[in-house]
Amino acid sequence: MVEAMGQRRRLGVAAWTGGAIAALVLLVGAVSLVWTPHDPAVMDVANKLSGPSWSHPLGTDHFGRDTLSQLMVGARVSIAVSLVAVGLGVGLGVPLGLLAAARAGWIDEAVMRFNDLAFAFPALLTAVLITALLGPGAINAILAIGIFNIPVFARVARGAALALWTRPFIQAARLAGRGRTRISIEHILPNIAGALIVQGTIQFALAVLAEAGLSYLGLGSQPPEVSWGRMLNEAQTFLFLDPRLAILPGLAIVVTVLGLNLLGDGLRDRLDPRLEPRRGGR
């Protein structure tokens, strides 16, 4: 199916650019697991706020920590938090959406009205509330961001699945005596994967932003853990002294989110079934 579509639509420049950026961020985060130019937590106060040099390509922060190393580890933290948060949304949201589409009736009503309820809360504000209640920290930030991904994926999964349930090949499977659960897993899920991937990419970008936002407010990962958002926060009072400290993590966030959004849009053009209304079954 994917191959058939690939013949009709190619990934655009934007998608390639976005993909390249996302891959780069992933690579940087992966590299930081095994190597960074310096230990990002080691302070060298005598060398604080030094500009770019051979040993510190992007300079040092107000504690003399290496900015490049911090950005690299920040990428990893950002990806890890977002990945788990989106994973939480997919893991709980998609089954809920599939269930709603398969069962219809009061289950559908219950799941979707609960969804509406969740959508009625301003996501980031509630995330702030959750982290304020549970205490700041990376795990709670993941929970807070993840919870608001559940209804998003539930809705996308249900919408795409409902359209499929009327298709002849699903009807055929029904007539062949397959159960609703099995059909959902074997036939519906593979066919809505495209929509989920697109949504996942976009949610990933939002999660990166949300993580940075929470950390900026001091509610995300705590020192000595590194986070782009907290780097931004700490750089605030140094804006006039050394704007580099704010510009670099800010740029990292912007570029990452832009890359993920470009990728998401590009993938949508190619994968989203809603843009392909006359596509045949398998």
Partner: protein
């Protein structure tokens, strides 16, 4: 027929409003550039007081709003740390130093319109020692044996033993004069005798004061004063730059001082405070009750790096709990120099393998704590002590750490003057207990001779350093920034206070 007309007019109206608002906004900065009219002052503070009764709390932020402004004591502490008369016009001390006879001012009114008499003074001093007293500095007034009013304006205080600092202690915010009728409500509606009376407190934002017309002393130049609480360093800087705040007696962002120095709209004053900034260790918890572990922590600390990294070099490293600008100061910073190897050896001696010791570090909001804490955590990590940083709000710190004793380590600045006696207190938050030290403080309290007192202070400092009671970090500097046209703000902080009684706008 009417509807379109109304809508039409409404649109005109809204356009007019927008234009007016824009004009107003555009013309505001050029009008004055200061936050308030010439007889008003907006002062910025990092911490919000938990309440406004200086006789019922240890938080310095209370005094930093109400001391000398709203409440006055029999004596007061001047900008240079000297004792000055306040509600007591004069006093005589008996030759044996045991009987103090105060002559009170006759024209003093409380803000509720009642007169201040010797009976109020008796009440104010007696309640400090009451059974249910919540005074945070009871120890300072423990020498008081009896208080009596001879007549309406003469007060006699008898002491159990001579106390060389009694007049100074009476000048603290903890001994201010209150009226029996209003004392219970002072936390939310402070009624004092000072030149300013309390107007309102918008929690989380500001406390407003206004000049009290019936004040007994010289009228203050300011008619109104607002204390705004802005914990965030970046926001505080922005507020100063924008003119939303006229003065910050202590800016939380020392790195910004250079840019304020370069700007002639501002005056920057670097002064001293009585704030010993320490890494407090909870002696109730193992293994912090082991002096070897505490000494290891002291060896692990690089005070210079902490001062440079957290305070941008503003601050003096200390080796015990004593202010370097005091004559009796002993420099004990050399007792445990920065030496990670010695620290590791001491930990090994105490039976702690590298990475085995894991401690929490509660950090209140001030930047000396938050930033200092990050550096301390990194330095302790170097010697194999794992540190979990827990940022807490000020109220939570007071509740959990200071009163609840639920912490391993914390960083806080003790800004009371000459407060080394806190180490002799029974149930103080870090839980230090050393009878030898208590004996020194006991002798100190019975000694009036300045030279003998200085010797005892030196002895006390040395005991604390030898016991490595806490990680002694640095003496907090006072980095004040204010509008260059302001006159009369204190350069140093000999006591917790933001005395605005002498503040005026010059040109």
């Amino acid at each position: 027929m009417i509807l379109p007309f109304v809508r039409h007019r409404a649109r005109h109206l809204s356009i007019a409003v927008v234009v007016l608002a824009t004009l107003a906004a555009a013309s505001l900065p050029s009008q004055s550039g200061r936050a308030a009219p010439p007889d008003a002052l907006v002062m910025g503070m990092v911490l919000e007081p938990p309440h406004l009764d200086p006789t019922a709390g240890a938080a310095g932020a209370i005094d930093e709003v109400v001391y000398a402004n709203v409440f006055e004591g029999l004596t007061r502490i001047g900008p240079d740390g000297s004792v000055e008369p306040a509600l007591a016009r004069s006093w005589e001390v008996s030759d044996d130093g045991l009987v103090y006879r105060f002559t009170l001012r006759r024209d003093v009114m409380f803000h509720d319109g009642t007169a201040f008499t010797a009976d109020d003074a008796v009440f104010s001093l007696q309640r400090i020692a009451d059974e249910d007293s919540v005074n945070a500095q009871k120890g300072l007034y423990a020498a008081i044996d009896s208080v009596a009013a001879l007549d309406g304006y003469t007060l006699v205080v008898e002491l159990k033993h001579p106390d060389g600092r009694f007049l100074f202690n009476l000048g603290w915010g903890d001994a201010v004069m209150v009226a029996p009728e209003t004392a219970d409500d002072n936390k939310t509606n402070p009624i004092g005798t000072g030149p300013f009376r309390f107007v309102r407190w918008i929690q989380g934002d500001r406390v407003e004061l206004e000049a009290y017309p019936d004040y007994w002393g010289p009228k203050p130049a300011l008619a109104r004063a607002t204390f705004r609480f802005i914990p965030d360093p970046a926001a505080s800087m922005a507020a100063l730059m924008a003119g939303d705040v006229d003065a910050y007696p202590n800016v939380p962002a020392p790195e910004a001082l250079d840019s304020f120095k370069a700007d002639d709209r501002f005056t920057v004053e670097i002064g001293t405070t009585e704030g010993e900034t320490i890494l407090s260790l909870n002696h109730r918890r193992a293994p912090l009750d082991d002096v070897r572990v505490r000494r290891a922590i002291s060896h692990a600390l690089d005070r210079r790096a902490i001062v440079d990294g957290a305070m941008f070099g503003y601050g003096t490293p200390i080796g015990s709990h004593f202010a370097p600008h005091h004559p009796a100061y002993v420099d004990l910073t050399g007792m445990y120099p920065h030496d990670p190897e010695a620290a590791k050896a001491l930990l090994a001696e105490a039976g702690i393998a590298p990475g085995d010791l894991s401690l929490t570090l509660h950090l209140p909001p001030p930047s000396y704590a938050r930033r200092g804490g990050e550096i301390v955590a990194a330095q302790l990590a170097e010697v194999g002590i794992k540190v979990e940083i827990i940022p807490v709000e000020w109220a939570q710190w007071l509740e959990q750490v200071f009163r609840g004793h639920d912490f391993d380590m914390t960083i806080v600045s003790h800004t009371e003057p000459l407060d080394i006696d806190i180490y002799a207190r029974d149930d103080y938050y870090f839980g230090y207990d050393n009878p030898a030290f208590d004996a020194v403080i006991d002798r100190l309290q019975g000694t009036a001779d300045p030279e003998a007192r200085a010797d005892l202070y030196r002895e006390a400092q040395t005991i604390l350093a030898e016991d490595a009671v806490n990680g002694f970090l640095f003496q907090l500097a006072k980095h004040g920034v204010w509008d260059a046209r302001l006159r009369g703000l204190w350069e140093n902080s000999p006591i917790q206070a933001n005395d605005i009684t002498g503040v005026s706008w010059g040109e």
